[in-house]
């Protein structure tokens, strides 16, 4: 199968859907003439022209709101945030308008919109540019929140998101745009709300999503050499969550570790832990554990950033603990 970059998968998904439906358009900062801040819309202005690929001023509140209004009137916008960190100045349009319009109008107005861009940290960028928003937005009914961790998942899920009649948020990562992976030439869709077992195993279930799953997968690889078999589940969607896949795995392994790049309080890991203790209490042989970022703002220095993020060694250590292999 051919290998392409994550950023190419983004551009392919958007371009294919724009060829399919004239009402789909893309707007955001630097998406047109600059070909995307991370080149994730490369070539799209040339193909679709300035009517459908629009550069905006740095005014997230304004252009997010215009996009939502255009969706009320029949269009299907894709809004790129250069990073989800910048979505905070537009959050009223996402939470109060996009997520609520259908319900407040008694089903009269639907908002078929995609908001997408990179989330969480991307190296040493300091506190304002290193925040993870998956659990924030996943908290809000009316939205769907998708966090694809591979080029294959991104393409299939982004295409589904663009065709979805509900508002969908796609969370990517600056540090994944260069990732390469197998993506078939032929068209495919991946349903929103279905988790994927990225690595099958028998001893410990690890639940993760997004960029940080690479840490979980690296830990699982190394733990296999120690004789501990980890099953790594990629949630792929954090609203709605595919609880069944997690519960089935825990019933088999009897152990659960969550690995998430987010602050601990009210995280997706917390929600997974609640549902697992409720639905699989009698199957658990160890406390559910979670590895999140530190409960602090991210900081600039390399030592501090290392201390902030969950590491492979930490995952290995916690997995050994729940497997009682601590010797």
């Amino acid at each position: 199968m051919r290998i392409i970059q994550y950023r190419e998968a983004v551009a392919e998904a958007m371009s294919e859907e724009m060829r399919r439906d004239e009402n789909v358009y893309l707007m955001g900062e630097e998406v047109a003439e600059y070909n995307g801040a991370y080149k994730a819309s490369k070539g799209m202005l040339d193909e679709f022209g300035p009517k459908r690929v629009l550069d905006t001023p740095i005014a997230e509140l304004g252009f997010a709101g215009i996009a939502v209004g255009s969706a009320m009137n029949g269009l299907r916008p894709i809004v790129e945030f250069m990073t989800w960190n910048f979505s905070l100045v537009a959050i009223d349009q996402i939470i109060s308008n996009a997520a609520k319009m259908r319900q407040m109008s008694g089903g009269q107005f639907t908002i078929p919109i995609v908001f997408r861009g990179p989330t969480a940290s991307a190296g040493q960028l300091g506190a304002t540019h290193s925040q993870a928003f998956e659990s924030w937005y996943a908290n809000c009914p009316g939205l769907k929140v998708v966090v694809p961790s591979t080029p294959y998942d991104l393409k299939g899920l982004l295409k589904s998101a663009i065709r979805d009649d509900d508002p969908v948020l796609i969370m990517e990562s600056e540090q994944m745009y260069g990732d390469k992976g197998e993506v078939p030439e032929e068209e495919y869709l991946i349903p929103i709300g279905v988790a994927d077992i990225k690595r099958p195993g028998t001893d410990v279930t690890i639940v993760s999503f997004g960029k940080i799953i690479k840490v979980a997968l690296a830990a699982a690889e190394q733990l296999a050499e120690e004789g501990i078999s980890c099953e790594v589940i990629d949630l792929r969607t954090v609203r709605p969550i595919d609880y069944d896949t997690v519960i089935e795995s825990v019933k088999k392994t009897n152990r659960l570790v969550c690995v998430e790049e987010a602050w601990p309080l009210g995280s997706i890991s917390t929600e997974i832990a609640y549902m697992v203790q409720k639905r699989a209490f009698d199957y658990l042989d160890a406390p559910v554990r979670r590895l999140t970022t530190a409960d602090t703002p991210a900081a600039y220095a390399p030592t501090l950033m290392e201390a902030f993020l969950p590491s492979v060694d930490q995952v290995k250590s916690v997995v050994r603990e729940v497997a009682y292999q601590n010797a």
Binding site: L61, G62, G69, M104
Partner: protein
Amino acid sequence: MAKKKLTKEVYLKWYEDMLFWRKFEDMTSALYIQQKIRGFLHLYNGQEALLAGALLAMEPGDKMITAYRNHVQPIGLGVDPRKIMAELMGKVTGTSRGKGGSMHMFSKEHHFYGGHGIVGGQIPLGAGLAFADKYEGRNNVTLTYMGDGAVRQGSLHETFNLAMLWNLPVVFVVENNGYAMGTSLKRTANHEEIWKLGLGYEMPCMPVDGMDPAKVYDAMHEAMERARSGGGPTFLEMRTYRYKGHSMSDAQHYRTKDEVAEFQKQDPILIARSVLESKKWAKESDFEEIDARVKALVQECVAFGENSPYPEAHELWQDIYVQENYPFIKE
């Protein structure tokens, strides 16, 4: 579109419509005191000319969006007023099946795009409606209303810039009733000429006497024709006054009764009536007939609302997602 003549029929319609809106709002106020309407309730009394003049300027397919003082606009656009009253009472026969309430009226059929509860949140939405009309090549205009309190929100300034940049067919209308809740305009900005905010964006802008439906129509017609012919946005500061408090819980300590009385002398309904009288387009018995019709329709609205059921509890999970069987977390 050619300018319409302000005929006898126009004034008769204005008079009856505005009187109905006034009496409808008065009734909601009475029902609120009886606790049959709950939540927040913001009345349009005094501002009726802003709607009457605009409706005459609108063409089929033109759109309207506003903030939360929004009960009578959909009625003016053609929504059955009984459904608005039912929505206010939280009944399943309401425009949003009892899910929106006073601040969130909508009618897709009649091009009323809400009914928005966050101050200034609807301003970019209005530009977005116009963006879609332009994108699709439809020759329509969106009227985007806001209160004077909303003009200090960033959403207005970001939207003004984008609407000019993209030359969108939109008219921004500020209903300047002098008070953002209980805070007068002069206590929130260094000048009170709101229309001048358009100047920085080179957007055509002007103040308008918002108490006279004829003057509102003139300004609206000019602005909407500019937008319709590709001339882009306009910003109109409609100077008006609300007779009632910001909402029902407002004791109105921030203004005097004399001030309210002064504005009531320029009441839009009285203006329409005096034109009808001076031109001898209506006689006393005509006004009595109109009054009786208005009163009867208001009573019909109340009866419809009161006789309608509340939505059943399972409705809480409906109309949120288009997706059928969305897996809501339950416990």
